[in-house]
Every structure is written in C-alpha cells, then in structure tokens.
C-alpha cells in the first residue's frame, strides 16, 4: 500500500461558521493507494474526536497502526488497491493541522485558547478545499465513525453533488443531552488543572496533563461497553509489579491510568475542548428549522447508517432516527444494526458483517 504523508497549506482566508476569519491554514494529510486518471476512486475518511490523519498502515517513526487500519488497506474493506483514500487531521486538531498548538502569524505565539471555535461544517469546508487541491470532483464515499460519521452526514447535506456515498457509522444527527453533559465534565476536569492557565499553558511552557488524563479516563469508559469491560477485566486485581500508580487495585483502574497517560502525552488540552465543542454543537437540521427531513431533502448521496448494539454513547435509536428522516425525505438510505463487542469503539474494528456491509456499499453501483 502506497502511503503518502503531506502537510498542505491553504493560503486563502477562511471564514468559519462562528464568523472568525483564519488568514490561512494547514491540513496534515495522509493518503493511501493511488488516485486513478479520471480521479473517480477517491474515498475520504473522517476521524472521530481524538483521531488524526494517521488512519492506516504503520509509519516508521511510530509502531502504532492507524486508527482504521483494520478497515483500510490492500484487500481490506476499503481496498487501497482499488480506492485512493484521503485522511486528514481536522482543523483545530493537534497532529499537524492548524490548531491551538500552531503559532499565530500575528502574535508569533501559539494560539492556545485563542484558536477560534470550529464546527463540523467548517471541517467539511476545509475538506472540500482539500478535494479541490487533489482535483477530486466527487468522492466515491465519505466515511467515518462517531464524530467522523457526523462529518460524512454533513458532507451529504453541504455538497450534494460532490459525494456519491456517505457511511455514517456509530453516529447521530446531534448528540444526546447525556453526551453534552459528559463532555462538560471532561472540559471541567481539564480547566481545573492548575497548569491550564485559562488555556495559555503553552506560552508558560506548561501542560495540564493531569486534567487531560482524567478527562480521557472518563471518556474511555463511555467508548466501551459494560459487558466488554466485564469480560476483559472483570474484578481481577492488578499485578503489583506493573502498577501505574500505588493506589491502583484493579486491572481496569490500571488500564484507564495507562490509556489516560498515553493520551495526555500526545493530545493538546485546548484541542480536546475544541473538538468536544464541535461535537456538542453539531446539528445540521438547525439551518432547516430543526427539520432533519428538510435538511436531507437535497442530499443526493446514498447513505449507509450503521449502529452497534453495544454502543450506549450513540445508541442505535439515533441511527434509526436519521434513517427514518431519510425515508421521509425520499433519499436513498440504508440502516443496519451490527453486533459489536466494543461498545461505541466497535466502529474501529473489523467484524464480518460490518466489513461486508461497508464493502458492499462502497462497491455497489447505481
């Protein structure tokens, strides 16, 4: 599989949904496979809230495969022998695209908390500019799970003629009240870290790592299912030789400690806040008198909406709700319920029915 990493700079100014204007911006991208001569084999994959451009393969500098490596690759569900797959770090992220950790041109300092609020619609705008950059007129498919699925849905609404298929996986047309509440707890934990300094920690050479770690630990619980956690950890006690922390008793505690710590090393706290805010505010129907049916009426893409039975963060009713609105709107749309062992995170992993459905969808014709 051919992997190309590239940071692409956009010189023109971009007006965000909030009204803020960015004088220019960078997008960190990774592509897999090759674009065919008529540029008709392109697939855009959108990352979930803490993901990045590294979606597949193993890069030399790090041993970790990309977040959707079980799905993207030669001969895999999204077959890179056939399709050219584009992945990017979204605007506001912290893995190479313009975001709170980048240096603002006017001040010469990192943006920090002053990086403007971004929305899912803004991401789709930047992704459209990315499509223009590659000369891609129409994506064969835009796909993603969770917040990534929301981008796929927004694509179908924002640019009906530039997307043939949208795979909206473990997602919803707006997140639940409970979800917003959980996000707020995570933000509060970060902001109350003594090193947060109202978001300007970088200028002070500090980082609210403890807050970020604890926020991630909370988030991580919501990504897994109760049964998966029970199966995996049960009430097993942690081996004393490998304790992350002296106070740790159970394996599950140690696991969360480890995951939280690893995350805090590579993620930026302001990005975390920004991404959760984008998730909270996503509601494509808002511009259509809160009518999702009216919102979907102009969509031309075929939709594939997939929910996982063990996902309690984005329960299947949310997927079915998009489907019912799509039927009312009279657009082409399929809804499937999948068994997944991993709760909300199930969308990340290959399973037979899931992969077959996604593959058949991607390869189906009019």
């Amino acid at each position: 599989m051919k992997i190309t990493s590239e940071k692409i700079s956009f010189k023109d100014s971009l007006t965000l949904q909030s009204g803020h204007v960015l004088s220019g911006f960078d997008l960190m991208t990774e592509t897999y496979g090759e674009l065919n001569s008529d540029k008709s084999n392109a697939v855009l994959v959108c990352h979930a809230f803490s993901g990045n451009h590294h979606a597949a393969g193993i890069k030399d500098e790090e041993k970790k495969p990309g977040w959707w490596d079980e799905i993207i690759g030669d001969g895999k569900t999204i077959d890179t022998k056939k399709f050219f797959v584009v992945s990017l770090n979204n605007l506001g992220g912290c893995h190479g695209s313009s975001g709170p950790t980048s240096v603002a041109v006017d001040s010469g300092q990192p943006y920090g908390a002053s990086f403007p609020e971004v929305s899912v619609r803004d991401w789709v705008e930047t992704q459209k500019l990315l499509a223009d950059h590659f000369g891609i007129d129409c994506w064969e498919m835009v796909a993603g799970g969770s917040l990534g699925g929301m981008q796929a849905l927004q694509w179908a609404v924002s640019y009906p003629s530039r997307i043939k298929k949208a795979a909206i996986i473990a997602a919803s047309s707006k997140i639940s009240t409970q979800n917003i509440a959980l996000n707020e707890v995570a933000r509060e934990i970060i902001k109350k870290d003594a090193n947060f300094h109202n978001g300007d920690y970088l200028a002070k050479g500090e980082s609210p790592k403890k807050g970020l770690k604890a926020a991630r630990m909370l988030g991580h619980i919501t990504y897994l299912s109760e049964s998966n956690m029970s199966k995996r950890f049960g009430r097993k006690l942690q081996d004393p030789e490998n304790k992350m922390d002296a106070d740790v008793n159970y394996e599950v505690e140690n696991y969360l400690q480890y995951k939280g710590e690893q995350f805090a090393k590579t993620f930026d706290a302001n990005s975390y806040i920004l991404m959760t805010k984008a998730m909270d505010s996503f509601d494509p129907a808002k511009g259509f008198d809160n009518d999702l049916v009216a919102c979907l009426q102009n969509a031309q893409a075929k939709l594939l909406i997939a929910s996982f039975d063990s996902d309690w963060l984005f329960p299947k009713e949310y997927g079915l709700d998009i489907q019912m609105s799509a039927i009312k709107a009279g657009i082409n749309s399929t809804y499937i319920e999948l068994e997944g062992d991993y709760g909300h995170d199930s969308f990340l992993f290959h399973s037979d029915r899931y992969s077959a459905a996604l593959k058949n969808f991607l390869n189906s014709n009019e």
Partner: protein, 195 residues
C-alpha cells in the same frame, strides 16, 4: 418471486411510486421497480445476509423486525406497501394487515395457499407437506400462520379490507383456468391489491 408474479406486481404499481417492501429479501423486486418504474423503494428485512445482498444490489434497506416495525412507517408518504410471502411469518397477521393499510394507500400481498391440492395430499399422507412455495421442513419453517385462500379472503371480508385486484397462480406460476376457477384447491399462490 417468480416472473409471472413479478410482472403482475410491476403492472399494478404506478410509475414514480414510493414503495416499501416488508420482508424484501435480497431486494430484487425493489431493484426492478426502481429500474422499470422509477420507483423510490425501501426494503425492511431482518436477515443479515439478505440485507447485505440488498446493499450489493444498491437497494435501500432497513434492518428491522416487521412485527415491531410496520407502524413506524406511517406518515412516511408511501404510495404502495408490499408484503410478498411474508404475512404468514408474522406473529399477528391481522394487526399487521391493519397497520400496513395505514402505511400506504394500497398494498400488495402475496400468499402461499395452504389449501392447494398438493399440500392437502401431502397432509393426507400424514406428513407436513411441502411445495415449491413452502419448501421448508416443519422444524425449520419461519411460517407461523399459514392459511388458505378462503381463510385469507374471509379475513378481508370480516375486516373490510377492500380487495381491488387479485390473481391466482398455479404451482408453475401461471394464471391458469383451473387455478382461477377453483383457487382454493388449484392455486399455489395468490396475489392481492388491497386498498
């Protein structure tokens, strides 16, 4: 669904109809309706493999149990609802019939006739009969409420389900004189337009 049955259904469904097919199988009928009648179609199916076949066929499908799901389709603007060889698989066929008539203005129902002479003969031999329309063994069948043409038409009369059109087909799938003269004995399958 055999060709004869397919052409009857195609004939009854107007161009550009919005159609829902409960128990759509691999989506073949909806695909043909889209191609020949420019219909906007949605299938409802519970079987995972059949759903994947629909996706491959480019047919919109919803994974849902029909018994629980029918009433969710009210007010969706459907012109026609189809239920082909599925009514006998439902837990409450009478309720399903009532609901399906609220989903769309008209519905197409196809029914395997348990009164057909071949099946009667099979039963006379003391064994659960099978036929081309009802191939499954008794321990594997999904059918819960098999009925004869006479039974079904009695139900329609009792519940004032208005049968607008009907065609009886013999076991070879053709609309023969015998099947139409003595349907309860010689038809293997019946197809109704109710509305």
């Amino acid at each position: 669904m055999n060709n004869q049955l397919q052409s009857i259904v195609l004939d009854w469904i107007p161009n550009h109809s919005k159609v829902v097919d409960f128990g759509c199988g691999d989506g073949t009928l909806l695909k043909i309706l889209a191609e020949k009648k420019s219909a906007i179609g949605y299938g409802v199916e519970i079987d995972g493999e059949k759903i994947n076949a629909c996706i491959t066929n480019g047919v919109s499908v919803i994974q849902q149990d029909i018994d629980a799901g029918i009433q969710n389709y009210k007010g969706m603007g459907f012109d026609v609802a189809i239920m082909a060889s599925s009514i006998q698989c439902l837990r409450r066929p009478k309720n399903a019939m009532k609901n399906i008539l609220k989903v769309a203005n008209e519905c197409v129902i196809t029914l395997p006739n348990f009164g057909n002479w071949e099946l009667r003969l099979g039963l006379l031999k003391g064994k659960m009969p099978s036929s081309a329309q009802l191939p499954a063994k008794w321990y594997e069948t999904k059918n819960l409420h098999l009925c004869t043409i006479a039974d079904f038409e009695d139900l329609c009369a009792e519940e004032s389900f208005n049968i607008k059109k009907k065609v009886y087909l013999n076991s070879r799938g053709s609309s023969s004189w015998l099947a139409n003269t003595f349907p309860n004995l010689f038809a293997a399958e019946a197809v109704y337009l109710i509305g």
